[in-house]
Amino acid sequence: MGSPETDRITPLEQAEQIILRWDSSKPHMIFNSDNRHDIDNYLSAVDLIQQSTNGKIAENNGQSTKVNTLVQIAMARLEDEFRNILISHTTLEFDSVNLLTESDEDSVNSNGSRISRNICEFDVIPKDHINDLRLIAKRMMMSGYFRECVQVYGGVRKIKLDTIFKKLGVEKLSLDDVQRLDWESLNAKISKYIKAVKICVRILFASKKRLCVQIFENLGYEGDEDAGDVCFMETVKSAAISLFDFAEAISISSRSPEKLFKIVDLHDTFIDLLPDIEDVFCSKSSESIRVQASEISSRLAEAARGMLYEFENSVLREPSRVLVPGGTIHPLTRYVMNYITLISNYKQTLGELIVSKPVTDSRYSDDLTMPDMDFGDHEGQSPLALHLIWIIVILQFNLDGKSKHYKDNALAYLFFMNNVHYIVQKVKGSPELREMIGDSFLKELTAKITQASTRYQRATWVGVLYCLRDEGLHATGSFSSGVPRNALRERFKSFNAMFEEVHKMQTLWSIPDTQLREEIQISISEKVIPAYRSFLGRFRTHIENGKHPEYYIKYSVEDLETAVLDFFEGCAVSQLSRRRSL
């Protein structure tokens, strides 16, 4: 207890003095000093002033107006203090997020703690300072200055959020911009975005929310909404909308098939994130964000379906007439088979998205060039599987059309055989794909290979073998009569010429698959060699008895056997070697 004079100051007057001492013109911050005493004093002063306003409302005198002024001065000061603490102590967040962008975002940083499922949060502001913020917020709320508090909070945090967004590579692209981007750039941006959006929802937003809760918990309500929620939405709402805008733009942009898998990835990301979004944006005022997120998911799903449909259509209509040399594998075949193998890898998501059967009637009503397909034989297979089967059907259909541009029928069949064989190999090479296509369809395809091979052989070799037929060359009775030597010579000559022609041409043709090539070669040999051997056996003496037998019997059986091995090399081989042994 001091002297009566100095102690005449009431606690209220003391409080006034403290508050006036710290009006807005003073540049230093109360909360910056290590002196807890100053801070406590100030806060007590504020409380006192606040209490004294109760009961003085109706009084229209100088005292109440002074108090009124003091409250405002105190609140203005507290506003600045609040802002200052927020600004000075949020650098931690930055670096933590930096770490994450480099490492696997699913691992939990040592600063974080798990709350629910995947949501991982950060202590972005040290506990002491959070406490201080709480102390300030409480006073502001009690004096009815909550709105100012929210504005300050939101103002500072939004700026930080914006900076973090930039670091994460979240870009603000308009739909116009997105439409103009080439696929490679867009692809890269989507990948980056997928990482960023996961971090934003699960880490950033969640930690912002936690912070709001920590600061404003139990401090009261604004209207019918919890104070923490209001603050959170103030900070995050427009950022969240901006974030989703990019995904929205992607879901609206043009539907080219090459985008399919990226779109599915993005779709999966959003579906995964929906529960987290519901968690973080659970208040009534954030309904529009939840709605937007789920709208985006639906649009992405629709886009994916549209792309698959577009793909099927483009395969069917692919118009190129450029002939692949030697009847080898067409790039379309490779592309389509790679594409559907990828689809089978994505069968989990795509299986859920694709729920209707392929459209097998013509998209262009007056266009009759469509393959026939009855899905009756494929009951019990998923719609996605039916689509894959359908794609193979239309691929074949297209290839068949392309094959008809080859001038040589035999080459056309070879081409078709090669490509269907490739299809079958690819199916067998992927367990998922094989399982979806099913063995019965596979059998059908294999049968087509055999059919094409048979047609090829017939087209090429019937004529050649015709030269070796018995008809018209029967020896009746003795040697010297019956076998027309000239006719025989003609036969040998034709055979040689035809075989040489075939050899010249068909060494340039191609059967890329080694096993298939061998099979075909063996099959040819089995037809040609025995026929030649027996022809030679029967008639060589007749030729050798005449002049220049070497003009007619040019090749030994071994020569021919070797020659067959040249076929389908895909490149020119040296001319057929003459007989070495006869």
Partner: protein, 386 residues
Amino acid sequence: MPPTDNQGSFLNRISIRRNQVVYEQEVEDLEQFQKHVADRLSELFHPPEDTNSSDPPETLLSIAWFRKLLDVFLCCEAEFKAVVIMGRDANNFVKSPLDRLIPEHLDRTVKALDICTAIIHGIDLLLHWKKLAQIAVDSLQKKPIGEGDVKRAKKALNTLLSSITIDDKEKSAENHHHSTKSGASSKDHTTIGNLRSLSYSFARSWSASKQIQAMSSNLTAPRGGEPTGLVVPVYLMSSVLVFVMWAMVSAIPCQERTGLGAHLQLSKQFTWAQPMIGLQEKIGEDWKKKEKKGRSGLLDETQRLENLGLSLVEFADGFSFPVEAEKAEEVAAMVAEMAEICGRMDEGLGALQMQVRELFNRIVRSRAETLDVLDHVNKVTTPVPY
């Protein structure tokens, strides 16, 4: 008529007659469409005198008015799609001039979608202003008004007024620089500028004004005499689309709106254009006047907030306790008006935001459907990229 041809020409005549009937029906549908649009627009722009007292009066360019405008647009759009796109022989779309006009229209819809996005962000800024105004209202509704209350209101109003009148282009460059400095020196001013630029939905190079300009630059009135009768409806729809976007951008804060006033020119030759032209002239003039003072936009509520804000700040500057009765009444009236505007903004902005979102969704869907029809008819397929 040669006797042998009797049967043939009779059938011919029937089918010609049937085609004629169908044709006439189509022509009538198109005319009805134009009439409906004209009616709805003129009702909107010259509202009947006897409105319900419970509905807020639809002052031009107020929130309520915009909600009606968007409603009208959605109706027109639905009818357009049904009558012009879906119910037609799509082969018309691949012939000149529709083969050029429809893709141009679709291009406009892309820009319109971006504008919708920007508007949604802009509405957030409006909500922010409302909150600031609300602070002022709450403090000035205390009885009696104390010095503290006045200071508080003045602070909020100053923030509000700065935000409303900030010149986006010049100040934002400065503020960006300021924001990199940390520390307690960050003023409200900096924060305001930053907050304004944070509400930008797109990269700095995007300009609402340029988008509108691009949308309207190739919007030329058709010369008529075109057989399908579809060219005018397409022009109509495009015009209405551009007009609605232009009106919204002029009223609601949006990124980069220099020169907006001059960017829409509608042809006077059509009846349905008349109401729009009247309004276009008014908006154009008002825009020019306001452009010098900053670009808050022409939304009725914003204008009134600005005016009231200025008056109340004046009051606050000259304030001394206690306030004389007459002055107190004056102020009370102004505050009451501001409170009413806040109430209206509270009610209307959320709904408006949802409507813009609905508009966005509708445009997306119609666009996709139109593209489908076009692809169908063009027998277009995407090339396989092997």
